[in-house]
């Protein structure tokens, strides 16, 4: 096997040093024979590197990927352009094959890049402190609810029906073992119903979650909800699409207490939905409740500035059952991808990307709602995604468009949110005028 660097002779020498003649003798000293003597494994035979490459190529080519077809699917994961420099740096062994930077002196590369990541995320979200990453947007959302409950000592979380259904599902799974209730804030016209929200936010409420733009791409009226949350002593948790934040008001500007986001748009491939990047940032008063790693700046014995993991007493390896979270392995490499991506983009690039998505989605909207059999579902302002009602079942539409090289969007009937004949389309810099004109042409011809 090409990943084992010792010969039989060397192994024999090592076994002798360990006081045995052969491996079975060694193994038997540790593991009772009856647990391994008759164990059978039915596994396919080993493959050479060449053969395994062929096998994986075959599997890969059974998928239809967004480089072969034009996709307007979004809903939490987006097809963005991947600058070549991102992977060129990411796949450096020095980053790629290192682990959690427990030993700061030999991990300054990872530590400083996380420090830079924390800075960028705090800046973009408009918050004071970012952690070093969560698993994904959905689990970040759930962990934010946990922070809020611990901080307020309250046990009711309000989750709007306009939150990504998968985030709502993950949040309620995460809280299911705890005495914390998850109540749904109703929606009207695709937005949080403000009046109901006002009534439901009370002195038992730990947190109100608000997604901006919401799952349907629409812009929520955030201020009154945050105001009423704060008045009731609850925390406001905002869930955002970070690519919009060169343009849209940040959670910090809205006065959110916790901001979470799915960082996938920042240089991370769609990859069938994982690995993703959970971003989380809070204001200083909550820093000791943050889950996961945090990097701080310090000084070394030689007087150099440098970085190390900090406030580790929040974490499971020290605090065990009293830790703020169980998270250990996180999404560090995805955080690095985002850091490199944002370094390339700069503030102008971030804004520009948001504007491209905005312009493309509006160009498409104006055309789409004029196609026969398609109509606009909601009237309020949207960002990079919008919903159309269709006279033909969306699943049928998708099937037909696929034959013409288009993935037109997400069939909302698969979610239990009462939007049955609705298709949601998403836009990025990858879906410009050319792609949209093709989309319109295909949809018009169905």
């Amino acid at each position: 096997m090409s990943y084992i660097p010792n010969t039989d002779a060397q192994r024999h020498e090592m076994l002798k040093a360990a006081g045995v003649q052969n491996f079975d003798e060694l193994f038997e000293r540790a593991v009772p024979r009856k647990l391994w003597d008759n164990t059978e494994f039915k596994m396919p035979p080993p493959l050479s590197e060449l053969e395994v490459s062929v096998l994986l190529n075959e599997l890969s080519s059974k998928n239809i990927c967004t480089s072969e077809i034009i996709s307007f699917i979004g809903a939490g994961v987006y097809n963005h352009y991947m600058p070549a420099a991102v992977n060129a740096l990411l796949f450096r062994s020095e980053f790629y094959t290192a682990y959690t930077p427990y030993q700061a002196e030999v991990a300054q590369g990872t530590l400083q890049s996380i420090f830079e990541y924390q800075t960028m995320v705090s800046e973009i979200l408009g918050m004071e402190v970012s952690n070093a990453s969560m698993y994904d947007g959905a689990t970040a959302c759930a962990e934010a609810a946990l922070i809020a409950s611990a901080h307020t000592g309250r046990n009711k979380i309000l989750v709007p029906r306009t939150l990504h259904p998968n985030y709502a599902a993950v949040t309620s799974t995460y809280l299911s073992g705890l005495p914390i209730a998850v109540d749904t804030l109703p929606a009207s016209d695709g937005l949080i119903d403000i009046e109901s929200a006002m009534k439901m936010i009370d002195d038992k409420t730990a947190a109100v979650l608000i997604q901006q733009p919401n799952f349907l791409g629409l812009l929520e009226d955030v201020e009154p909800i945050i105001e009423s949350a704060h008045k009731a002593g609850a925390l406001a948790v905002m869930v955002v699409d970070p690519i919009t934040l060169g343009v849209l008001k940040s959670p910090g500007e809205y006065g959110a207490d916790i901001a979470v986001a799915e960082g996938q748009p920042f240089g991370i491939p769609q990859a069938f939905g994982g690995p993703l990047l959970g971003m989380m940032a809070v204001n200083k008063n909550l820093v000791r409740r943050l889950p996961g790693r945090l990097v701080g700046k310090t000084i070394d014995s030689r007087g150099n500035e440098g970085f190390c993991l900090t406030l580790q007493t929040r974490e499971q390896h020290i605090r065990r059952n009293k830790a703020t979270s169980n998270i250990c392995t996180n999404q560090a490499l995805c955080a690095l991808a985002a850091t490199i991506y944002l370094s390339l983009l700069g503030p102008g690039g971030l804004k520009h990307l948001g504007e491209l998505a905005l312009e493309n989605s509006h160009y498409a909207y104006d055309k789409a709602v004029n196609i026969k059999g398609f109509s606009s579902k909601f009237d309020s302002p949207f960002f990079r995604e919008f919903v159309v009602e269709t006279s033909v079942k969306p699943s049928k539409l998708i099937e037909k468009a696929l034959l013409k090289g288009i993935l037109p969007g997400v069939d909302l009937s698969v979610f239990d949110i009462g939007l049955d004949n609705c298709l949601m389309l998403a836009f990025t810099e990858m879906t410009g005028k050319t792609q949209i004109d093709k989309l319109v042409q295909v949809l018009s011809g169905l």
């Binding site: 890969s60 994961v77 740096l89 020095e94 002196e105 392995t329």
Partner: protein, 499 residues
Amino acid sequence: MGQEGNCKTKGDYLALSKSITIFDRSTPGLSGLDLPEIQKEASHFIPEKYLRKKKPILPEVSENEVVRHYIGLSIKNHHIDKGLYPLGSCTMKYNPKVNDRAAMLPGFTDIHPFQPESTVQGALELLYNLAELLGEISGMDDVTLQPVAGAHGEFTSLLMIRAYHTKIGNPRQTVVFPDSAHGTNPASVTMAGYKSVQIKSGQDGLVDVSTLKAAMNENVAAFMLTNPNTLGLFDKNILEIADIVHSVGAQFYMDGANLNALLGRVKPAEMGFDIVHFNLHKTFSTPHGGGGPGAGALGLKKHLSPFMPSPIVVKNGDKYGLDYDRPDSIGKVHSFYGNFANLVRGYTYIRQLGLDGLRSVSENAVINANYLMANLKAFYDLPYDRTCMHEFVLSGERQKKAGVRTTDIAKRLMDFGFHPPTVYFPLIVSEAMMIEPTESESKAELDRFIEAMIQIAREVEEKPDIIKTAPHNTPVGRMDEGKAARDLVVKWSPITEHC
């Protein structure tokens, strides 16, 4: 240290070498990525009240400068492609390059989780086959691939166990685990709404059967055990332990972080476990990426299947699909289906190795660890002096009496070009050094490590100062972790950072 410039403030001299962040390299007007033109400003589409007023500070740097910056950072890291990384419990093995090439195929990177099933048959087939293989390796009936890390798998399992107990009566109140357990175990217990009951390990470092018996009752939902445990010892009484756990109707959870020692030899199901988490980023060679992403699948017995996270991958004839119709499922624990790209890597690895390769992994991992242990135990205390599995734990007590702590030894090892072992864990060994060489290391590399450890042991006697002031050959000296926590600075800012 090409990255660091000396910096003086006007007036008093500061002998500080400042860190140069990407923000310090920023020059207004530069950018590292050209984009297509836009026609209209955002305000054309969106009312003013939704628009951002306070611009985020982000670096303005050209692409070549970005590349130099991160290459400059990268060279300050130790990593497995450079040398031994014997971080116990983390299984820092070589990450085969073919895995990454496979994971980066456009058919895997450029597919969306909401694409129609007909367009992602290859991905679903891979997931289905990987689940089958992990089922075979663990002897379990079913596998879910949704959790994305070990801790995530623990938490998911405990929610499934809660759902199982609830279904047959009541959820129960506590979860028991030994004091050698990894910190994620108790932390997951709390998140799943259970009370932690930690039991003391026996003199031999294993589960003390009478202590366990005393702790088990009808309130206990599960017993969590790492086997081999975090001392690198296999619990020989495992079948008896399983009986004790099951006799009160509790579930037996295996923390499978140490599965590398058992690959192709011992099946968790045959040890009596009901559910096990795999760390694909340890056992199945997916890269650690500076702290993640990982992948943390679960193998489980049939009685727990209904509670698996939704959806599950199913096969109908020669078509693959996602089944959401799972009325007893605990729900979702991830936005989509887990860390797919890492599942591709793990699948590539298992298919390439086959059974012979997996057996070779466990054999070489165990031999390497025992070889190191045999050569080091004369120089350091070995509290549990028995044949180990894939790792073992030394104690720095002897050295501590001479005034040198385990931290110092860890830092000194860096001067020899090695990453230190895991230190101060497990908590039941004082001044612990947990050493896991993995199967990836040659005898020559292990001999170099032994030599370094012996030299350090000698230095403790002869010139302890060189250890206490270590490291000396690293990009930076010993970091003041206390200061980092006291004077919390967790982001760059133009005021405190500019000279």
